[in-house]
C-alpha cells in the first residue's frame, strides 16, 4: 500500500502550521516555540510536516516528478516525528507515517542520497551503520568478563548497537552499562562479535528491505539464544526492537527495555543503590526514538466510514507520541544524590531533536549540527552545567557541536551519570 494508504490523511492537512511549533498551550514565550528542525532551518513551507503532506497528496494525484529540490526536502528531515505530535493535539490524522512512506518510495524508485547509499553499502557488507569502522564489533568488551548470550543462558541480552560498539569515543557507554549491570548482579550477556545492526537507522533512511533483513537476522539469533528480555542503550535500537519489529510482526514476545528503564527498575527494586554524590545541575534531553517514537506500535485495521467525517470503523487509535519513555530516565536522575535536574522548555513528546535522525548526520552533517546547536542553546538557558541524554547518537552530535562552538556545556549519557553514582 505504501504512501497510497495515507492519501486521506494527507488531504486532511489544512496548512494550519501547528506542525511547526510545540503544542500551542505549551508555548512559553518567543523563544523555543518551534519544534521542527527542518522548517526552522530551511524556511520554505515544503520543509514542514504539513508541507510534506501537501506535496505527497499532490504527487499521488498528479504523478511523481522528482527534482533535486524535492530530494533536498525529503532528505533534510530527521523524521523525528515532532510535527505529528503537535498536529495530533488537534487533528485525527497520520503525519509521520506518510512522510516516512514518501522517503521509502524515493528509495524504492532509486532516488537515493549518495551519502546514505554509502552507509547502507557498509551495512550490507559489515552489518554496521558505521562506515569505515575498523576492528571487531565486540572488541570493547575484552577483559570485562561478560557472558556470550549466544552460548550461555542469560536473563538479559544487552544489545550494544553500532555506534557504541565501533566508535572509540562511545565505547565508554558500553563499559559503563556493563559496570552498572554487574554491580546490580544482573545475569546478562552480549552477542559480541556476532551482534549485528538493529536496522533502525536503515529504516529511517528509507531502506526498508535492509531494515527487514537486519530485523530477521536479529530475531533469529534472539530466538536461538532463548532470550526473553533485551536491553538497549541506544534510542534508535530501542525504537527498532520495540516498535518497528512489532510493526512488521517480527517482535513476538520479546520484552524490550531501554537501559534507562532497566536502571530505574533496578533502583526501584533495591538492586542498585546510587550512593555517591554527583554534585551537578543537569538538564535532560529526550531522544526522539526513546520518547515520542518509542511509543508502542498499535496494530489496527479498519476502513474509513463514508461521509463527512474522517473517522474509521473500528475507531483508529492514533499514536500521539505521549506513551514513550519519559519518566524512567528522570526518575533515575532524581535518584542520584547531589544531582539537580532542571527542565528545558521543549521536553517529552514535544522535545527538539538532536539532529542526528533520519540519516541527516550522514547526509547533511551541517544541518545536524545546526539542529544540535539550537538544543545546546536551550540547555544552556536552563543554567545547567551538563546536558544528559540517553542515546549515543545524541551524545555524539551534541559533543561534536559543542567542540566546534567552544561552549563549556558538558554532555553525558545517562549511564555515565549512574556510573559515577554507584
Amino acid at each position: 500500500m505504501g504512501l497510497e494508504q495515507y492519501q486521506g490523511d494527507m488531504e486532511m492537512c489544512c496548512r494550519c502550521s501547528a506542525c511547526k511549533f510545540i503544542p500551542m498551550q505549551k508555548v512559553k514565550g518567543h523563544q523555543y516555540a518551534y519544534v521542527c528542525p527542518s522548517i526552522s532551518r530551511y524556511n520554505f513551507h515544503a520543509y514542514s510536516g504539513g508541507g510534506r503532506l501537501n506535496i505527497g497528496a499532490a504527487m499521488l494525484k498528479d504523478g511523481f516528478k522528482y527534482t533535486d529540490k524535492l530530494l533536498d526536502i525529503v532528505y533534510n528531515c530527521q523524521l523525528c516525528g515532532a510535527c505529528g505530535v503537535s498536529c495530533n493535539y488537534a487533528m485525527d490524522m497520520e503525519v509521520l507515517q506518510p512522510i516516512t512512506e514518501f522517503r521509502i518510495k524515493c528509495v524504492d524508485d532509486g532516488k537515493t542520497h549518495p551519502a546514505l547509499d554509502k552507509v547502507i553499502a557498509n551495512l550490507r557488507k559489515q552489518g554496521s551503520m558505521i562506515s569505515g569502522a575498523k576492528g571487531k564489533r565486540g572488541a570493547w568488551a575484552t577483559g570485562l568478563n561478560i557472558k556470550d548470550a549466544a552460548k550461555e543462558k542469560v536473563d538479559v541480552l544487552y544489545h550494544v548497537g553500532c555506534l557504541t560498539s565501533f566508535d572509540k569515543n562511545m565505547q565508554k557507554l558500553a563499559k559503563a552499562t556493563v559496570k552498572i549491570l554487574q554491580k546490580a548482579g544482573v545475569n546478562f550477556g552480549i552477542f559480541g562479535n556476532a551482534e549485528t545492526c538493529c536496522g533502525g537507522r536503515a529504516y529511517q533512511m528509507g531502506y526498508t528491505k535492509d531494515f527487514l533483513n537486519q530485523a530477521k537476522k536479529n530475531m533469529a539469533m534472539i530466538k536461538k539464544a532463548g532470550v526473553k528480555t533485551l536491553v538497549t542503550g541506544c534510542a534508535d535500537g530501542y525504537q527498532a526492537f520495540k516498535v518497528l519489529y512489532d510493526k512488521y510482526e517480527l517482535k513476538g514476545d520479546l520484552k524490550v527495555l531501554h537501559i534507562s528503564e532497566y536502571i530505574a527498575k533496578l533502583i526501584q527494586d533495591g538492586r542498585l543503590k546510587p550512593r555517591k554524590k554527583v554534585v551537578m545541575t543537569v538538564t535532560y534531553h529526550d531522544p526522539c526514538r526513546l520518547g515520542r517514537l518509542g511509543e508502542p506500535w498499535v496494530h489496527w485495521k479498519g476502513k474509513k466510514i463514508p461521509g463527512d467525517r474522517f473517522v474509521f470503523d473500528p475507531p483508529k487509535p492514533y499514536r500521539r507520541g505521549t506513551n514513550g519513555v519519559y519518566d524512567p530516565p528522570r526518575d533515575v536522575l532524581k535518584a542520584i544524590p547531589g544531582l539537580k535536574l532542571t527542565e528545558m522548555t521543549r521536553i517529552k513528546e514535544y522535545s527538539w531533536c538532536c539532529g542526528a535522525g533520519g540519516g541527516v548526520s550522514e547526509s547533511n552533517p551541517a544541518f545536524a549540527r545546526w539542529t544540535a546547536r539550537e538544543r545546546i542553546d536551550e540547555a544552556i538557558s536552563t543554567g545547567a552545567e551538563a546536558l544528559v541524554t540517553a542515546c549515543p547518537w545524541c551524545e555524539k552530535t551534541f559533543t561534536e557541536t559543542i567542540k566546534d562552538s567552544g561552549s563549556n556545556l558538558k554532555v553525558y549519557d545517562i549511564v555515565e551519570i549512574v556510573e559515577k553514582a554507584v
Binding site: 486521506g8 488531504e11 486532511m12 492537512c13 489544512c14 496548512r15 494550519c16 502550521s17 501547528a18 511547526k20 511549533f21 503544542p23 500551542m24 498551550q25 505549551k26 508555548v27 512559553k28 514565550g29 518567543h30 516555540a33 530551511y42 524556511n43 520554505f44 513551507h45 515544503a46 514542514s48 504539513g50 508541507g51 510534506r52 501537501n54 506535496i55 497528496a57 499532490a58 504527487m59 516528478k65 522528482y66 527534482t67 533535486d68 529540490k69 524535492l70 526536502i73 505530535v85 495530533n88 493535539y89 488537534a90 487533528m91 485525527d92 461521509g307 463527512d308 467525517r309 474522517f310 473517522v311 475507531p315 492514533y318 500521539r320 507520541g321 505521549t322 517529552k348 513528546e349 514535544y350
Partner: protein, 489 residues
C-alpha cells in the same frame, strides 16, 4: 509561467540564493498552483526591493504568514514572510507590542502573560500571526478588528514604505491615527477585497490588562492537557437559555455590567470540539451536550483582580443569568473540563479542533454588526444547513451558529460555518452554494451587507463604495501587482 533567468537573478540578489525557489516540487506545499516563485524576504528593506522588482517586471505578488488562507492564482510571486519573526518591542507603559508578520499569537501572548498583559487573538487560532486583523474569543474585553492595530509599517504596492500614525512623525507606535498620517480607512479596510494591498511588515497591536496567571498550570499529556488547578479568581461556565431572546437579554446585561473577561457564544458543537480529544469522542460529546442544553447559549470566563472583585463579578453573573432563565451546563462544571476549556479559550489553542478536525475543511460566513439582527439572519442560515446535514455532505452540528459581544456588547460578531471533507467535490460545491445564497439573503432581506456578498448588488445601496474602492486601489497600485494582498493568517 517560470521567471526568466535574469529576472530570477534580480530577486535572488535581494534575498539570497537560499530564500527564493521556483522548483515545481515546492509549490503544492503552499497551494495547488504554479507560482512564478516563492520568495522569503527577511526584513522590510527586502520586502520593498522585491515589490519594486515586481512593479518593474509587472509581476503580481501576494504575501502570506503561516499560510492556511488562500486561494492563489497561478503565476504570482508568493512572499512567504516566515523569516520576519521578531517581537520588536513590548511597551508595557503605553500598552502596545510591535511585531513582525511571523510572530504567532501564542508566542506574543506567552510573553504578555508574564507581564500581566494580553491582546486580542483572532478566532483563526493562536497558531496564526499576532498581526492578524479580525475577531476572537476575547473580544468582550480586548475588542477586535482594526481597533487593535496602532501604528503600522506598510510597504505599498509600488514599494514605498509608509509609517502610519504616531510612527509617521516620531519613533513611537502608540497611535494609528496621528500625529503622523492616518490611513485607517485604507489599511484596515473591511470592504472587498477586505484586505490591504501591499505588505504589512511591522504592526503595533494594542495590549490589555490580564488578571489571570503568568502561565497556566498545565498538566497531563497531549491531546488532553488539563489544568492542575483552576487559577485563583477565575471561573468558566457555559449557560444555555430557553430562547434566543433570553440569551440575548443575558448577553446585553453582562455587557452592560462589564464583568466577563470572555463571553463566547459557542454552540454545543464547538464546546464539544474543545473538550474532546478525537472525532469519535467529539461526536458522542456533542450528542450528550445537545440533550443537556435547553436552547442557545454562551460560554463565559470570569477573571477577578482580587477575591472581592471575583466574588462581585460572580454574583452579578449569576443574577443576570438567573433573570434570563439561563441554566449552567453541568458537564462543564466538572473542574477538569472547566480547566480545559478555560485554557483553550484563552490561549485559543483549539480553533483547529473546532473547524478542521472532523472533515478537514470548513467554509464560513463571518458577520460584524448588531448582534440581535445578525442572530436572526444566522437562524435562517442554520436552517439552510440542515438539508446538507441530512444528505451527509457536512458535519452535523445541529445547524448551529455562534457569536459574541465585542467591547462588552457594544458591537457583535456572528458567524456560521459548514465543516466538510475536502475530498468530496459534491460537498464543496454544496457548501459554496450555501455560502453564496446566505450572503445574498443577508443583503436582500436587509440584515446586513456581507463583505462576502454580491458586491455589484450591494455597492449601489452603499454609495457605490465598491467603485470608490476600485479607484483607490488603482491609485495605490497603478501596475496592478497587488490585487489581493495582506493575507496575514
Amino acid at each position: 509561467m517560470a521567471l526568466k533567468k535574469g529576472v530570477y537573478q534580480e530577486f535572488e540578489s535581494v534575498v539570497g540564493e537560499e530564500n527564493i525557489c521556483d522548483d515545481p516540487a515546492i509549490m503544492p506545499s503552499y497551494f495547488n498552483t504554479k507560482f512564478a516563485a516563492i520568495i522569503l524576504p527577511g526584513n522590510t528593506a527586502e520586502v520593498q526591493a522585491v515589490i519594486k522588482l515586481c512593479n518593474k517586471h509587472k509581476l503580481v505578488f501576494r504575501p502570506i504568514c503561516t499560510g492556511w488562507t488562500g486561494g492563489f492564482p497561478p503565476d504570482i510571486i508568493l512572499l512567504d514572510l516566515r523569516r520576519m519573526n521578531r517581537i520588536i518591542e513590548i511597551n508595557e507603559k503605553n500598552m502596545y507590542a510591535v511585531v513582525e508578520p511571523y510572530v504567532i499569537s501564542s508566542q506574543l501572548q506567552a510573553e504578555l502573560f508574564k507581564r500581566g498583559l494580553n491582546f486580542c487573538i483572532k478566532g483563526a487560532g493562536t497558531n496564526c500571526t499576532a498581526m492578524l486583523r479580525g475577531h476572537g474569543h476575547m473580544d468582550q474585553t480586548t475588542s477586535g478588528d482594526d481597533r487593535n492595530h496602532l501604528a503600522i509599517e506598510w510597504v505599498t504596492p509600488e514599494g514605498n514604505i509608509v509609517r502610519t500614525g504616531a510612527l509617521g512623525s516620531t519613533d513611537e507606535w502608540f497611535c494609528g491615527d496621528g500625529p503622523g498620517p492616518s490611513l485607517r480607512s485604507i489599511l484596515t479596510s473591511a470592504v472587498p477585497p477586505g484586505v490591504t494591498p501591499g505588505v504589512f511588515t511591522k504592526a503595533a497591536v494594542k495590549l490589555y490588562h490580564w488578571p489571570g496567571p503568568s502561565e497556566f498550570p498545565i498538566a497531563g499529556r497531549s491531546p488532553k492537557y488539563v489544568l492542575s488547578e483552576i487559577p485563583p479568581n477565575m471561573m468558566a461556565r457555559y449557560y444555555s437559555f430557553p430562547s434566543v431572546e433570553k440569551m440575548w437579554q443575558a448577553e446585553i446585561g453582562l455587557g452592560e455590567a462589564e464583568i466577563c473577561y470572555e463571553l463566547m457564544g459557542f454552540n454545543a458543537a464547538m464546546v464539544a470540539a474543545n473538550i474532546t480529544t478525537s472525532n469519535e469522542e467529539d461526536e458522542a460529546m456533542f450528542n450528550r451536550l445537545n440533550k443537556e442544553v435547553q436552547g442557545p447559549g454562551f460560554f463565559v470566563i470570569i477573571a477577578g483582580n482580587s477575591p472581592a472583585d471575583f466574588a462581585y463579578k460572580k454574583k452579578v453573573l449569576e443574577k443576570i443569568v438567573e433573570e434570563a432563565e439561563g441554566k449552567s451546563l453541568k458537564t462543564l462544571e466538572d473542574p477538569e473540563l472547566e480547566g480545559i476549556i478555560m485554557c483553550q479559550c484563552t490561549r485559543i489553542s483549539a480553533s483547529i479542533r473546532e473547524t478542521f478536525r472532523p472533515g478537514g475543511a470548513f467554509n464560513s460566513i463571518p458577520i460584524m454588526g448588531q448582534r440581535d439582527l445578525t442572530i436572526k439572519w444566522a437562524i435562517g442560515a442554520g436552517e439552510a444547513k440542515k438539508p446538507l446535514i441530512e444528505k451527509g455532505l457536512i458535519v452535523d452540528d445541529g445547524g448551529a451558529f455562534f457569536g459574541w459581544g465585542v467591547e462588552q456588547g457594544h458591537l457583535g460578531k456572528t458567524e456560521i460555518f459548514c465543516k466538510y471533507s475536502p475530498s468530496n467535490p459534491e460537498a464543496k460545491e454544496a457548501v459554496e452554494t450555501w455560502q453564496r445564497e446566505q450572503s445574498r439573503r443577508a443583503f436582500t432581506e436587509r440584515y446586513f451587507a456581507s463583505t462576502m456578498g454580491p458586491q455589484d448588488d450591494i455597492g449601489p445601496s452603499l454609495c457605490n463604495y465598491h467603485l470608490w474602492w476600485s479607484k483607490l486601489l488603482k491609485a495605490i497600485d497603478p501596475n496592478g501587482v497587488s490585487p489581493e494582498a495582506g493575507s496575514l493568517v
